[in-house]
């Protein structure tokens, strides 16, 4: 069957997390990412048919924050625009659906985050975390903890402890996950390597979470351009196909959610695999970029994505199964632990990272060819939402 309306990525632009954003305004960051994406696709603003931006009010300090970002993605007065308060991966999903409906469209999907604009210790993320929780049953407790700045780490610790209880993963193995990702990022930037001992010697925030096993917030922006296969032929870049998408969200009650597992990821993956015709993800997926907001979450996610049998996780870490040259490289880009976490942008960035590796233009390409790649997003404790996108070369 000829699928002329298969959706593909034809342009991408990124302001990398951790770069120098001093003196660059939030709107400018996103403009830079979008300009790069348009240049990558070889198009100008007049060709944009619709624009979707993802942002989060509290993290950006602006109510209805997307109003401010629409200008930066060329979306003003376009026939279609959508503004979402979720990870940018969801802007990709919405853009995907728009192109399915109208294969002639060129859609811009984007997300931006500038946590460095928040003033105070640890950029006030604990306040945002608490503000995102139910105000009746959860927030009063979170607002009375003696060290509010440790709240995120304690939540992470609750999740990690539940995971370690059911797996046989030790603190040292978690450190190995962090080392892999930190060194993947360092390999690309030429920074010195980190050792397991360094991770285990980094400050303990709330056992087993340490300074180096919890991703820190970074400024970043990411823009992708989507269109149909038919339309892509007119453009200059080889398209990267979005062959499957899926997303799912757990219930809102913090105490009723699953700890140490990710049923939302499992459900999202199931949908995406069904669409992409993937039956054995561990054999068919060449490379994955998943949320490693905390080191243990990478493992929870690879298990939920079906990339590793939960009974084999320990062995896989010990054998380097997720390393750059392993059978399924995970977070070759460095992930969130290596490059930094840009809430709202991190998931869309994972899509960009996978697309770069399928195109073969990543700066840190592995020795193998990547034909099918997977990108995953997780909303953290503020939003128990997972998204999965399967990308392919053909």
């Amino acid at each position: 069957m000829v699928m002329e309306n298969r959706v593909c990525i034809v342009g991408l632009g990124v302001v990398e997390p951790g770069g120098n954003t001093r003196g660059v305004a939030h709107k400018e960051l996103l403009f830079h990412a979008t300009r790069r994406a348009l240049d990558d696709a070889g198009i100008e603003r007049e060709l944009i048919g619709g624009a979707i931006t993802a942002s989060s009010d509290f993290t950006e300090g602006r109510s209805l924050s997307n109003q401010y970002t629409l200008d930066s993605i060329g979306g003003v007065m376009k026939p279609c625009d959508l503004r979402l308060a979720e990870d940018g991966m969801h802007a990709l999903f919405a853009g995907y659906m728009e192109v399915m409906v109208d294969p002639g469209l060129l859609m811009v999907v984007a997300a931006v985050q500038k946590p460095s604009e928040r003033v105070g210790r640890r950029n006030g993320f604990h306040k945002i975390l608490s503000a995102c929780l139910d105000p009746i049953y959860n927030r009063p407790i979170c607002n009375t903890v003696p060290h509010a700045e440790s709240l995120e780490a304690v939540f992470g610790a609750m999740d990690a402890r539940a995971y370690m209880e059911r797996s046989r993963v030790t603190e040292e193995l978690l450190a190995r996950v962090a080392v892999k990702n930190i060194n993947n990022a360092a390999a690309a930037s030429g920074e010195p390597a980190t050792a397991v001992e360094d991770v285990l010697a980094s400050s303990e925030l709330a056992w087993p979470l340490r300074d180096l096993t919890m991703a820190r917030e970074k400024d970043a922006a990411c823009t992708l351009i989507l269109t149909s296969e038919k339309n892509a032929g007119k453009l200059r870049k080889e398209p990267v196909f979005i062959s499957g998408v899926g997303w799912s969200t757990e219930g809102s009650h913090l105490a009723a959610r699953s700890y140490g597992m990710s049923p939302d990821t499992q459900k999202a993956a199931h949908q995406a695999y069904r669409m992409a015709g993937i039956r054995r993800p561990e054999k068919e997926i060449d490379l994955a970029e998943v949320s490693d907001w905390y080191a243990h979450r990478e493992l929870i996610h690879v298990e939920a994505l079906g990339l590793c049998d939960p009974g084999e996780t320990v062995l896989r870490i010990e054998d380097g199964g997720f390393d750059r040259e392993g059978p399924i490289p995970v977070n070759v880009s460095g992930g969130l632990l290596g490059k930094g976490n840009s809430l709202i942008v991190s998931g869309l960035l994972r899509v960009a990272e996978v697309a770069r590796r399928i195109r073969g233009d990543a700066v840190d390409v592995t020795s193998r060819k990547v034909c099918v790649g997977l990108a995953h997003s997780w909303g953290g404790f503020i939003s128990p939402t997972a998204g999965v996108a399967v990308l392919s070369k053909w």
Partner: protein, 153 residues
């Protein structure tokens, strides 16, 4: 050494105050805690699960047919996180612990402080109980904390 030009920024804060309604289910839940130190759950008449915290509808069956049932203030420890360090890295004399407890016979759970226990003595799955505050005013902090069930009891 040349001095870096300071970044030009504009400061600001957003502060908005709210009074959140606890809703019909919350009103019953908090009133029973305040007046009788009783934990009430909402049982879905369709699937039979008992929801704590209670709500007036079951999000699984999507019906608002519930009945109120009393739930024992005891349950099992789902997970916990302990903080031994202040954010500047100093070891705390008094660590604090948050935990999630699933009450016996109920679905879901409550998150609260764990006290009267050291983190090293806690284990996922162990029996826990609710300790109510002496002074109660219809609030989640009318529950003072969870503690492990004492063996003599």
């Amino acid at each position: 050494m040349s001095k870096k030009k300071p970044e030009m920024t504009i400061g600001g804060t957003i502060q908005v105050d709210y009074e959140w309604s606890v809703g019909n289910a919350g009103e019953r839940f908090f009133t029973e805690i305040k007046d009788h130190k009783r934990i009430m759950g909402a049982r879905c008449r369709t699937c039979g699960r008992v929801m704590v915290p209670p709500r007036i509808f079951c999000e699984e069956c999507f019906v608002d047919a519930i009945e109120w049932v009393e739930v024992e203030p005891k349950g099992t420890l789902v997970t916990f996180g302990d903080c031994y360090f202040s954010t500047d890295g100093k070891r705390l004399d008094e660590p604090w612990i948050l935990g999630i407890v699933r009450l016996n016979g109920a679905d879901g759970g409550l998150i609260h402080f764990i006290k009267e226990a050291k983190a090293e003595d806690l284990k996922i799955g162990m029996p826990m109980e609710i300790v109510f505050s002496d002074e109660r005013k219809g609030h989640i902090l009318d529950i003072s904390h969870f503690r492990p069930v004492k063996e003599s009891e």
